[in-house]
């Protein structure tokens, strides 16, 4: 995928790790065509944590697929400083025929990393997500939260500076999600990652993000961008998080209400 076709904008691409300019995504043709995204512009700072928030049908997952290059844009431009990008999904999608270690190693293997180095690096990454003791287990022997940590280690093995996360903790219980927020925050800081995080959970977005981007539904447009100026580490149940989350929830509800009848 070549998205760096707009030469005059090269300077802005330097400024942001990912720059989206008037991104349009349409599915289908003619009168039956559905516009999923309609002119989304966004500049993601290197090293920042950006949460994309929206109700169903806002195309937030679509947006992530476009940034990852899994799908082609219908209009506008997406510029990357660094490619490829790493990505994580709601389902861990670990390969059941490989061990935990093998699942991390596969990402390195595809990149042509040699056997010994692969092993060393994969073990190091499992250490990072605190799963060293489970290297030789099979994915089905782990809990949902542990599987997502393996998926995170696999994404980190891609050695990309940008990490895209599509509702990665959506299927987890609150306790596990809470702890994984802490873990993700730590890894994001240590590895100086640029994170684009999609969620429909407002508090999760405020808990994690430097910025929360609120998207409208059908078609998806940027409704508002909230800067989250709260000290880290944050707690999801702290008062400042709750206050900002309430504001954003009101905006989100107003947007959802627009689609009634």
């Amino acid at each position: 995928m070549t998205d760096t076709r707009t030469a005059p904008r090269a300077d802005t691409a330097r400024a942001g790790a990912v720059v989206l300019t008037d991104v349009v995504k349409r599915y289908g043709r003619g009168p039956g065509a559905v516009t999923a995204l309609d002119g989304v512009s966004l500049s993601v700072e290197p090293g920042s944590f950006t949460c994309l928030l929206g109700a169903s049908g806002c195309g937030k997952s679509t947006l992530l697929s476009l940034v990852a290059g899994l799908d082609d844009i219908s209009g506008g431009a997406i510029e990357h400083v660094d490619q490829p990008v790493a990505m994580m999904f709601q389902e861990s999608a670990l390969f059941p025929w490989l061990t935990v270690l093998g699942n991390v190693e596969i990402a390195l293997r595809v990149r042509g990393v040699g056997r010994a180095e692969r092993r060393r690096r994969a073990l190091e990454l499992l250490e990072t997500v605190r799963l060293s003791g489970f290297a030789h287990k099979r994915p089905h022997e782990l809990s949902g939260g542990m599987r997502q940590r393996v998926a995170l280690a696999r994404a980190l093995a891609q050695d990309a500076s940008v990490l895209l996360m599509d509702e990665p903790f959506g299927a987890l219980d609150a306790m596990t999600r809470d702890l994984l927020h802490d873990e993700l925050e730590r890894i994001w800081r240590e590895q100086r990652l640029t994170v684009l995080f999609v969620t429909h959970n407002v508090r999760e977005a405020v808990r994690l993000g430097d910025r929360v981007v609120l998207l409208s539904s059908r078609p998806g447009r940027v409704l508002n961008v909230y800067d989250v100026d709260l000290d880290r580490p944050r707690r999801i149940d702290s008062a400042p998080v709750a206050t900002l989350a309430a504001d954003i929830t009101d905006a989100l509800r107003a947007e959802v209400g627009r689609h009634a009848g």
Binding site: L70, F89, I106
Partner: protein, 294 residues
């Protein structure tokens, strides 16, 4: 925020996370051997009971005088034949000839079936052209091919091979095709995100993901190959090749019912052994993948 606060928060999280991990682990209450033994027993006694019932019925049928003893021998007469015949070299040579045909035919079928399966799964026009024909072939009784096979290859090994391969290929191809069709999209998406393209995606995702379906295709393919082979050996008797089918036809011509029954039992036992091997392979995969709950 002071550095030591950051560190202690991280330590806390680490400890809580390991606590949660430990709680997720299910305790193991039985040893591997204990589980194996109890499963062995649970699988064995119903089989033994069924065998006793079948032999009992057979004995009653024999005693009722429904058929003459030369046509329907008693279980004991067959047992005596079994004990006398099994140690002879002729018995084992026949098994060797038949098994060699079975394995050659099956190996050829796996090769042809795999290539065909991958080709049909990959190329849309090919699927449109022969996809449903493969399933159609699967429903054909293999014995229907023998008259044609004999015209093509006369009474020869090729005749038998032709029908065996024709019987097994559709199952094996279909196993691969449905396996490839049902690879979860999430796995393919991960492959794409990791940067796999073309052959790499096949090598690292699609082929391994197809394994369970491939194995059940192999199992079904074997069953068809084995049936076709038995039909073939009874119909196509090649001089000098004392296969199971040929010796069985010979025994019938001499009205040697105990020997016919000895061969029937032999074929049944071979079928069970091979089926057990396939089942073990299937179980292993299911267990490793976590598709199995016991």
């Amino acid at each position: 925020m002071p550095a030591e606060t950051v560190r202690s928060v991280a330590d806390d999280t680490s400890r809580q996370l390991s606590g949660l991990d430990a709680l997720e682990k299910t305790p193991i209450t039985e040893t591997r051997w204990g589980r194996f033994a109890s499963r062995l027993w649970a699988g064995t006694w119903p089989k033994v009971l069924a065998l006793v019932i079948v032999i009992g019925f057979w004995q009653l049928l024999f005693l009722s005088g429904w058929k003459d003893p030369w046509a329907l021998p008693s279980p004991l007469m067959v047992w005596d034949e079994l004990v006398a015949y099994v140690p002879t070299p002729g018995y084992w040579t026949a098994i060797a000839i038949t098994m060699q045909r079975a394995l050659t035919g099956f190996a050829l079928s796996v090769l042809v079936g795999s290539v065909l399966g991958i080709a049909v799964a990959r190329f849309k026009p090919l699927r449109a052209a022969i996809g449903s024909a493969i399933t159609g072939l699967q429903t054909m009784p293999s014995i229907i091919w023998f008259p044609l096979a004999i015209l093509l290859f006369q009474i020869s090994e090729s005749t038998i091979m032709f029908v065996v391969v024709l019987g097994a290929v559709p199952s094996i191809a279909n196993g691969i095709i449905s396996g490839i069709d049902y690879v979860p999209p999430a796995w393919k998406r991960v492959g794409a995100v990791l940067g796999m393209k073309g052959f790499q995606l096949y090598r690292h995702v699609i082929m391994p993901a197809t394994l369970p379906s491939f194995v059940s295709g192999l199992k079904q393919g074997w069953a068809f190959a084995w049936r076709s082979l038995m039909a073939g050996e009874l119909l196509v008797i090649i001089a000098g090749q004392g296969s199971i089918g040929a010796l069985m036809q010979g025994a019938r011509e001499f009205n040697d019912a105990p020997r016919v029954l000895t061969w029937i039992i032999t074929v049944l036992v071979i079928g069970i052994i091979v089926d057990t091997a396939f089942k073990a392979a299937d179980d292993r995969i299911r267990r490793a993948w976590g598709l199995h709950q016991d």
